[in-house]
């Protein structure tokens, strides 16, 4: 019996041995893991070719570009940090940076990326520079614009009032809808933001020292914005059928299918339309403000962060230098449709089109998301307020008052 015990023990140990040896063999080659956000327009071919090209140029480094749907990115990063196994680098919403810094999870980019790469980035794109430290390399920065399907209408509304009239003039559901409006909660609060900014409002009061004061979504501008959205959807009924069950990814294909006149959208519109085989022409214009307000589009910036507890940060920096060459980064920008953040790429001919001109104008007066901890929760609360109004459960004023009170309470104000 003793012999049998010994035999089993030896067999167990032997069964583990190849695993140990394999693991040791793997450790010899540093492996850089990169959480790669699946932006609309990005192709698998591009991801794979970038990965292969880098490993060919750097045979001593293994690169794993992990595609992650954008709506799962925040959760994926959180779980990897909680599990003590963060990637070397990841695309992040720049607005998540304060939260990540609060967790002491990210490192200064300047310690790992070359000066040549940093000098090639437009200073205006460095939103991730916090207290003088660059905590993320800008990867995408794009203001939102309005796309008009010219096979339905050639009218470019200059105010929200005109947009309503123009949308009603062409609205003929279910063949043609006046306007696209997602009503299902998704990762970003973009849709309410377009109307809130167009009404001259913002999410929070800004104190004299630049810090955020109380929640201001229930300001007259906020109420005006939500009232207008509700009117478009439930009174004028100019938005796509079933808007309440459609998030951004679900509703934009209705525009790509040529069934809607207007959509507020990002720079990815052209590549997404190409992928959807859309065969109509599009004009680009600014998201109109409400009468008496100035045009204030939303701008969204994303960055690449380097994680403090990752093993191969030096190698990750090497990859970023590789990726930020025009050959790769300009192609990336072209695919996702974002205006380039690098100075050299912005001069390339492919970025001198009407779309990029419209994006350039939009960026001049654009405002971004609040950079604050807890924004994921607060934007969910505002989303819920929007939906309560769309469902007829509350008035815009009551719903936004409730949301503002909840947010202020959560922030301890």
């Amino acid at each position: 019996m003793k012999k049998l015990n010994k035999l089993i023990l030896i067999a167990l140990l032997l069964s583990f041995l190849p695993g140990f040896l394999f693991a040791k063999g793997q450790q010899e080659k540093p492996k850089v893991t990169f959480y790669w956000a699946l932006y609309d327009g990005l192709t698998e071919d591009f991801r794979a070719s970038l990965q292969d090209a880098f490993m060919k140029a750097n045979p001593d480094i293994k690169l794993d570009i992990v595609p992650v749907p954008w709506k799962n990115m925040h959760d994926k990063i959180t779980t990897s940090l909680a599990g003590g196994n963060p990637p070397e680098i990841s695309v992040i919403g720049t607005r998540w940076l304060l939260e990540l810094m609060g967790l002491n999870a990210v490192d200064e980019v300047t310690s790992y990326v070359s000066k040549a790469t940093l000098d090639n980035i437009a200073p205006g794109a460095m939103e991730a520079k916090i207290k003088g430290k660059l905590m993320g390399l800008p990867v995408a920065a794009g203001a939102r614009i309005m796309a008009v399907n010219t096979s339905i209408t050639t009218r470019i509304p200059m105010t929200m009032g005109e947009l309503e009239k123009d949308a009603m003039a062409v609205n003929n559901p279910p063949k043609v809808y006046g306007l696209i409006m997602p009503g299902k909660k998704h990762t970003e609060l973009t849709d309410f933001a377009y109307y809130l900014l167009a009404a001259g409002g913002y999410f929070f009061d800004i104190n004299s020292d630049g810090s955020y004061g109380k929640c201001a979504v229930n300001s007259p501008a906020g109420v005006k914005a939500l009232t207008f959205m509700n009117k478009l959807a439930n009174v004028d009924k100019v938005v796509q059928k079933g808007y309440l069950s459609m998030d951004r990814m679900g509703s934009h294909p209705v525009f790509y299918a040529g069934k809607a006149a207007y959509v507020f959208i990002g720079a990815w519109v052209e590549s997404a339309m190409k992928q959807a085989n859309a065969n109509f022409k599009v004009k680009y214009a600014q998201i109109p403000p409400f009468a008496g307000n100035k045009s204030t589009p939303l701008i969204i910036t994303d960055s690449i962060a380097i994680f403090k507890d990752a093993k191969y940060k030096k190698e990750a920096g090497k990859f970023l230098d590789f990726f930020y060459q025009d050959k790769w980064k300009a192609k990336f920008d072209e695919l996702v449709g974002f205006p380039p953040v690098t100075i050299s790429a912005s001069k390339l001919p492919q970025f001198q089109t009407p779309l990029y001109k419209a994006l350039g104008v939009a960026a001049l007066n654009a405002r971004g998301w609040p950079l604050m901890e807890g924004w994921a929760e607060y934007s969910d609360i505002i989303w819920d307020a929007n939906q309560k109004v769309f469902l007829g459960q509350m008035t815009p004023k009551a719903a936004l008052d409730e949301a503002a009170a909840k947010i202020d309470k959560a922030r301890g104000m």
Partner: protein
Amino acid sequence: MADRVIIGKRSKWWNEETRLAYLLLFPAVFVLVAFMFYPIVYVFLMSFFNADKLGRLRAFSGLKNYKTLLATKEFWKVTGRSIIWTAIGVFSKTIFGLVIALLLNVEYRGRKFSRMLFIVPWASAVPISAMLWMWVYNPEFGLLNYTLEVTGLWKNPPVWLGKPISAFGACMWVDIWIGIPFMALVFLAGMQSIPSERYESAYIDGVNSMQKFFYITLPGIGELLMIATLLSSLWTFNDFNVIYILTRGGPANSTNILITSIYQYGFEWLKFNTASVMAVVTFLILSIVSIIYAGIYFKRERE
């Protein structure tokens, strides 16, 4: 004498045979402790501590997390909804499962093919099934509304995932659709183990179909019915995928159940204190259900 007793006890727990048993059990026990018990204990601990945004314990807070959560209306709404979700889900799966099992138990041509067909929803990955149904429910391009409109059955069908009641019902249906095959297969296995002589005797005595079902079939699969409904209750209560993929708890939180709320608080909002209390409540509810079931089951077995 005392020494002999101690030696006897030691040898009972530690002899050559038990040593081998321990050795063979060790990998399974290690995996269970590492991946089941440790997380459970950690979640319990977390519910009594202030945790940071990565779930690391910071300071003991006693019952504060519980008091805060139990005082919110939203928590009770979500808990109530979870119970309704489970009750309707398990009841429907049991009824549909029974009906399908009865049909599959009848001798007819193509029975094997039918059995294979019924297992498809169970064999597919739940997220894939949920995504498939998301497209079926799509108001613009979806198969369901298109069919209803084209056939004239419903001129203006609802936006299934856009309104609270229809969204809850639509999610519920997907959960039921996924869960039916398991119930049907378990019941079918039970029905096939009932000796055919009982049905033959009943036939000679002039017993009708309903009487056969209530007096032979149902008692014959009684134990399996209990086990299947218990398992189904646990799975349904913890069904995250369907709701998360179809509605993400919306519209306006109307389809959020405890398990999706735990995810929302924990991994979207990084509020691990609240998430851990909800997880403990879920654990307790499911433990109570399991204990009641186990009690009834073992009592019957003893009888």
